[in-house]
Amino acid sequence: MQSRDKNWKKKPRKRFVKPSETAESQPQPDLLSESLEKNLEIIAKIFKSDDCLAIKHLRSEDNTLLVAILYLKALSDHEKIQVVLLNLADNLAKIGLEYRLHCKTFFIETKNHALTIGNSGEAEEFEKISSALLDGNTVILFEGIKKGLIFETTANTERRIQESDTQPVIRGPKDSLIENLSTNILLIRKRLKDTRFTIENQTFGTISKTQVAIIYLKEIAPESLIAEVHSRLSVINTDAILESGYLEEYIQDETNTPFPTIMTTERPDAIIGGLLEGKVALLVDGTPFALMVPALFVDFFQTPEDYYQSYYISSASRLLRYFGFFITLYLPSIYIAVTTFHQEILPTPLLISIAAQREGIPFPAFVEAISMEIIFEILREAGIRMPRTVGSAISIVGALVLGQAAVDAGLVSTFMIIIVAMTAISSFIIPYYAMSNAIRILRFVMMILAASFGIYGLFIGTMLLMIHLCNLHSFGIPYTSPIAPYISTEQRDTLIRFPHWALNFRPQHLKAKNRRRARNPHQRRS
């Protein structure tokens, strides 16, 4: 594991220079002073380019400024502020705010009675106050007191918890992660009622200050893995993490590969399954896609649903996915190889049938195949990017114009259309989009090799692919395990799935601790 570190550790970026260090010529005081006027002045200066800052004043009868209430309008929930203000008003009615002296009593009263929930607290530094304001909190400052009170009034902009669009299931929980980190942690935490559940919060990005939660089960996740995650996260130095994809590229073992080595999922149940196997999950605030490490090749062919339905069905559909993988990778290239180099390996009637269809096609098989595959990729990409309202246009253009018309015009053979269609459908059988993308890219390489050297070229391509796959690691774990290195006990949950009572150990290749999941009730011998 250690030997691989140098591969993923990128050159440290130039340290980002904070704008405040250059913009401000005169040094600013770090701590609040007793004078409320002065404090407000400094805060106003910090937020001088932010029109959102709202400052409400409470004055005494002689118009002296005694209390200031600050919040950022865009970030705060006004109803929550209203509650805070009502609380203040209650106290105010009890004490009365006539003189400067009353401020201290008022501060103590408020602190003792109004600070009840959430991230409320007190602060002495300007930095803490400004970051509290940026989180959407309300800050109350008092005349003559060097502390400010912070009330959590963060606006909730989150959307409803919906069914996963990217990883849907027929049977299984329908909820999926959303953009809000605390909601996401709630979704996971409520399903694992154990004190070993560990959440570590870290902030990344000098500007975005994105919160990232590292989640694992203590005493199950191996310490080496946790240490590795920490050490890889510690070198990240960037101004913003906008999505977990940023993080993924920073921490993955090898970036020079089409294959994903970190699992991306928006399903809480998938994350929980991983945690129980001793994996570590990374939740990033602002995106529903969580990361999970280590992720091995076979993991990308398994879905949470495999564990919810009968193991016969799951095993069959897993095998089907691997079959789909081979179809996607090889079908067009085998077609090219066979029709241009190895006509003898086809049964005669099939060869005659292909020959009859290829009669009059102006292009060689390779050009025919690659152009149709590229057209399919264009259709797929267009289908993702185009506005939903014009969605039906793509199917009309794709199916009718490009498919039917191309055959009628004699540009491509019907056989080719069948092959492109099979490849396309098969590529979507792979449950993780990142993996199916990788295979779809590689299929073009295979097609070029097949067109140049026939099946011999396919063998070269396959060998290169094998070498590459065997070279990959995910957080120190060989990417192809448990197949190569072969671990016989892990085959119970790799290509096929054994019933749950037979899966009573955590995976050996992930080096999970505390390996026994439960005592097997079906075990006859002790």
């Binding site: 006509q343 003898e344 005659i352 020959a355 290829r358 009669e359 098989a365 026939g454 011999y456 063998f459």
Partner: protein, 398 residues
Amino acid sequence: MKFKYLLYLLLLSCPIICSGCFSKGEINSIALVRGLGIDQSDNGYIVTIQVINPSQLKNLTDITPISLYSVTDQTILKALRRISTTASRRLYIGHLGLVVVGEAQARAGIIRLLDFLLRDHESRITFHWIIARGTTAQNVLSILTPMESIPVQRVINTLEKSEKIFATTKIIQTYQLVNQITSMSASLVLPVVSATGNHAAQYELDSLKSTHTESRLYVKELAAFRGDRLIGWLDETESKGYNYITNNITNPVETLYMKKEKAKIAIEITESKTKLQGRMRAGRPEITVNLSVKGVVGEIEGDYNISLLANLVRLEAALQIELTRQMQASVHHAINKLKLDVFGFGEAIHRADPKAWKKLKNNWASHLPQLTINYQVKPKLLSTGLITKPYWRKPEKE
């Protein structure tokens, strides 16, 4: 690190030396040769090839589904190359299905024809061989046939079907042919195709518009060879007897005639197994043919009460006689008339008594007339079909 990349390079270079035969050709730039006909000519061979016309296979309209090219040259390869002066595409013989040899050429010997087909890297040794009786190979390949649009395919399919359910022919693929020609103990037999009627009319696509085709191809006999030269023919019965002796029976039908009831009965053979047992008795070779067949009653014409056990036994006995008769006819014709051991009796002796075979093998043909052959036929009828008594017979009153 350098060592690792060197290792990759080494691994990748491994397949370079085992690439095998290798040539690029788009499917629509090659002409699929499905049938090859070879006839004797004064200067070399008349080579005829049947090339598939893929675009015409789906809808037979104006153009024939096949094209025929026929040239004369000294060698087969040269002749095939000469065809390029008329054919627009490269000939591809990887999918050759059938080689037809004209009768005259077969009598002159066929071993010379084999060399090219075995030597060429594109050809596979699984294609069938057939002898054109009473006609030329060129004529056989020219005849268009209904049902199957590629005539050669029709001959192949007919061969395979009739070998299974009629048992009067035998499929010989090239590798079997080579084995048999080189074998000391068993002579070669090849299936025979013959054509009837007005051949020339059947070259036209229009001839397929009628239910009565002018000429048809028949595949029903065997040609017997001494070495690689055609010597004689085995007719229908003899061919079937040959197949019974050589354990090449799948599902044929036998007709029995019961004199007492004047009933004709057809038995469908469902299972047949033959074992040849050779031995030397008093210095003379002796062969026992152990044939055990199982069959079902397929058809009864006449008043024959199959529900009686005695009648069933009689039927089995009749079947035994019939099968023995066929095998005897076959043996009589091949051994006594043609003086050929097509059945592999020599091999049976070789297996049983290698020492004696050493002495016999040099003039095995001269020993053939003295060969004693015993027939052990064990027939068994398994079923009488869906009806036992004739349907027209009234139930007897009790």
